[in-house]
Symmetry: C3
Subunit: 461 residues, 3 copies
């Protein structure tokens, strides 16, 4: 089972320490009850951890759905719901059919294996088929094969979710689903092969514990390419240079989404320890959860504090985004020991992101939910910050950020351009004005509620 | 401790394998660390798994509440909230007072014990009371008695939740609560006694891993009887043969409900392995979670794909229902090894359900949330499909489907009829037109929002 | 490691029993597999339990946010979202910087240590730094230091959340954040030091398993002081003695909040066993979850039943509050063995709370979400009830209730008064009428929806 290299490294280290520890204890026979955890218990704990943390990460898809569907105007909220249930479904299928194999199976520097479908090992099939003698070999694997698949699958869904919010309210549903398919089946797995799969970037020492760059920046770069290609919503940027405010249509739902994401992130970062089979793992995961929470809390407070000078008022939306930003920022190195660094990293992220929100307006990029500041900017910051507090090398981190950015931005730009020339990326102005819910989908998000009439600047169109 | 038979079977098998495995390893003393997990650790893991998975299943009640309260018209949404918090409360109490004993304690072919209240074993009482010497006997039980009760209790709540959505918007609250009481206290426990309790159907080899038939079809049959007896909502089916569309009043909330159910289903199916005490269990649960997710994803995409030819447009509601359908379909056999079968089973379920949605309209049955297609039709399909991929015998599966269907449909029909003749099933046309929120409950779901005036076809009433 | 005394007691007891049990089994060598769980596995299980249960408790913050933002009028719902994301962030930071040290580190009767920041033990730092020989000492600690911090931190956030709902719709945001800072950084930690930290009340035998008084009444007393100082909302109590109804503006969101809290409470109470390292722990936690659920269910049904005689009609809001009340009531003693007591305690709580809702109206205290009945009244009831069924001494319980009540009410009253004289507590009548969302925050919760015009009694102002 050499399919998982880098993401399994901590397991290897852990086992190594367990062995050393065992020797230590064997030399002290009086400490009879501390010989290290037996292998089968380790196997169960590692597997159960993958599953439980994975379930929490799956929950993040609901978080993105709420965040986005509450952030867009009501006339496009149903479409966001459809997109997000579609993203999670497509991602899960694409990663099963080809993604995981490309990312983790026999990776040679840049890519794994082109093979159709992933499944349990032969020993595991034998074991569940009733051959008890297969247990020893299964247990040697350290964890159940498919529990790892499950945990990796929910990550790819996260990357795809990021794109959806940025280009909301104007992209065609089928074009978007095609982008999702390619992102989750090919682009993200290749980035993953370079790093967690044990490819060239991993060989150079690139560190990204849970995916500030690998997941969040990847989603962010694809989103940036999309935002550029699709263009701003009608009327967002006025001829006189002013920006039309498009406040969230349902603040409660946005807030719920942020809480869901915060909760799911404990699985995202905690599970990325990839093991629960030793005291070392348990201690490390505890640090990860504490740092994750501190960074998010600091992100909220920092974003609230700077929102007044930067954006003109204490902005709830900045605070909510601050939580996401803090979480993304700490994701590359959430296992740092000095917890105050988590606060600093999260707070700096909160400031950077709030500034980036302003910058996007200046360069007239229309990112509906602020996904680019929250995932791309904070993802880069977090990856670099891992060199301050978590022992990574700055130049390797920079190399990883640039290489992955160039690859994802370029490939997804090509995809967007090809789609633009073929299926088309953007709904008609009529559909956009009417809203995608009625125009494309025929179902309003809140059909019984009386809504404000929309006012258009005629000179904008 | 002979109280749990069938649902404990996998534990028994597992222990058997562990013993064999132990012999295997004892014959190979060099593999020092793979002698099987010690009994107390198994006890803790089994118990913790029951509790954590059970907590996820409890969360499904919130999912049903959101799905239903977002699917009904706003004028009945508060009533749905009341019904669902009531369902979960009544189910939990009824199952404590009589349900569990009927289902699992000393089952003789068709029914368990009529006894008031369930509780921990005498050994467990002794242990928590400070008698440490009771620990050995407690540990022999394999898991904490009440952790199993908790896990079984959240299942009965699920069965009852299914009924609520189908007959929403016109049934009287107290009649509905009485149906819930009888369903959760008596009808479902008897079905459970036949199967998971070790009764006659289990003896014949009927297989239903987590309850495609036992939970979902049971709820579905009770719902079908209810829909027939209560009749369609005023104005749903017009005299000219056309069907009045009643779109969800809050699509975001429906979508949230679906995500909650999807997440909770990992507990529903994963927990039905009923153990976490060996590598075998850990591997099996991993397969269960992967299959559960693949079936749901396939259900979404299949339902979206066929919604256009069958329903006339790509329907978000079909896609959302497709997730539920995929989940119900895989529930009878989520432990299959060839994961592509999960995709096929979920996809076929998605197609069947979308067709069933259309069929219901043709036969003029008014199922507000599509509970009958999603839980009854998919439940039957999943139970039969377990004979394709999960080793069950088709004729036994058919027998179980028919026997349980006949029993639940008949008994719940009797309950509905008796209630119709006594308390009455249906609110007055005045209350129905006004909505149950104002008419029965005096609390609007969204009192500050301006709603569209409703238009009635006068010739319908 | 003497930092945790009282909250560690059950661990100590458990280890004691394990040792006894070990002797027991050593005397019976034939029971080879029941020698107690090895220390490292215990360490991992204890730590993982803290983290998983803690994640569920964190989720309660989302529950409070939904409950409150759905309960207030739409014009203040965004402000509730901001307050709650702020509460969780401030609580997490304050407890890291000073709160935990005050509560748990070297407690001398009334208070712990004034020290800046909390962190892992030196042994843990060594272990994660690669020194495997530190493992033995780390494992001796029983669980990871920071996992305990994480679990305690989410509790302090809960206490602060309670205040927010009671004084919603009229308190200034920055004053509220200052109250939150002092409550979570100083007041709550001192209460905690007296009790769970091993201070004087704990020494006398005060029992409060998961915090009926320590968390919920503490929040409730601070809320009561706030409600008195801030005064009722404009127009709530009319000159003619009648009370203006202020129904929840979004019942679905309130209901979702209640389900979230119910789910999170399994972590709140279950995790307060503070260990998962033995069969005894597993059995005890199972009892805790079952009792927690039964009490909540009983609270719902009892509140619904008495709402008609007390409040004039069967009130959904009473039923929803009944769940919270049942949960708070059982929190002081959720480990009782006779589960029917949980039903009685929850049901009595449901009745008391519904009566208290009425009483508040009579004494003209305006508690927007019913936090004082649900958390203060039920918290007191639950703490006293622990002497009926869970073995506590009534006079000690009473002493604890009074002492903590006097301390929290007085100190928080002082804080409210000082803020009233300095920053000011209350927004201007103009802002209050306009709503805090537009008046203070500049962001409406539902900006696209048409809302009912509000009617004011002019003679009220």
């Amino acid at each position: 089972m050499s399919t998982i290299l880098s993401r399994r490294r901590s397991v290897t280290i852990m086992v190594g320490i367990a062995v050393i520890g065992m020797g230590y204890f064997l030399a002290r026979p009086s400490v009879a009850h501390a010989q290290g955890i037996d292998q089968e218990t380790q196997f169960v704990l590692n597997t159960f951890a993958f599953l439980i943390w994975g379930v929490l990460v799956m929950w993040m898809c609901a978080g993105f759905t709420m965040l986005e569907s509450g952030a867009v105007r009501t006339k496009n909220a149903s479409m966001i719901c459809l997109k997000n249930i579609g993203i999670y479904s497509i991602a899960g299928l694409a990663y099963f059919f080809i993604g995981y194999n490309l990312m983790y199976v026999d990776v040679k520097e840049v890519i794994g294996t082109f093979k159709f479908m992933y499944g349990p090992s032969a020993d595991e099939v034998a074991l569940v088929g009733g051959q008890a003698e297969a247990a020893a070999k299964v247990i040697d694997g350290g964890y159940s094969t498919m529990s790892d698949w499950f945990f990796q699958m929910v990550f790819v869904a996260t990357a795809a979710s990021i794109v959806s919010g940025a280009i909301a309210e104007r992209v065609k549903i089928w074009s978007f689903f095609l982008v999702t398919l390619l992102l989750t089946g090919i682009i993200y797995p290749i980035v993953g092969a370079w790093t967690w799969g044990g490819g060239w970037l991993d060989g150079m020492g690139f560190q990204d514990f849970a995916g500030s760059t690998i997941v969040h920046s990847t989603g962010g770069w694809a989103a940036l390419a999309g935002v550029i290609m699709v263009g701003p919503r009608l009327g967002k940027f006025r001829r006189d240079g002013s920006v039309s405010p498009t406040p969230p249509s349902n603040v409660l739902v946005v807030t719920l989404g942020v809480f869901i994401l915060w909760l799911g992130w404990f699985g995202f970062n905690g599970g990325s320890q990839l093991a629960l089979g030793s005291a070392l793992d348990a201690v490390a995961i505890s640090h990860v959860l504490v740092n994750t929470n501190l960074a998010a809390a600091a992100g909220v407070m920092a974003a609230l504090a700077v929102s007044r000078p930067i954006l003109g008022r204490m902005a709830l939306f900045a605070g909510l985004n601050g939580a996401i930003v803090g979480l993304v920022s700490i994701t590359a190195g959430p296992d740092i020991i000095d917890h105050y660094w988590a606060i600093i990293i999260g707070a700096v992220g909160g400031v950077l992101c709030t500034a980036a929100l302003k910058l996007l307006e200046i360069v007239k990029l229309d990112d509906v939910v602020g996904a680019i500041p929250a995932h791309l900017v904070a993802g880069i910051w977090g990856t670099l910050a891992a060199s301050i507090a978590a022992g990574a090398q700055l130049h390797i981190q920079l190399l990883g950020v640039v290489a992955i950015g160039a690859f994802v931005f370029t490939t997804s730009m090509v995809v967007w351009i090809v789609l633009d020339k073929t299926l088309g990326l953007r709904v008609s102005p009529q559909v956009e004005r009417l809203g995608q819910d009625v125009g494309e989908l025929g179902i309003e998000a809140y059909p019984e509620f009386v809504l404000m009439p929309e006012v258009y600047d005629e000179d904008e169109e």
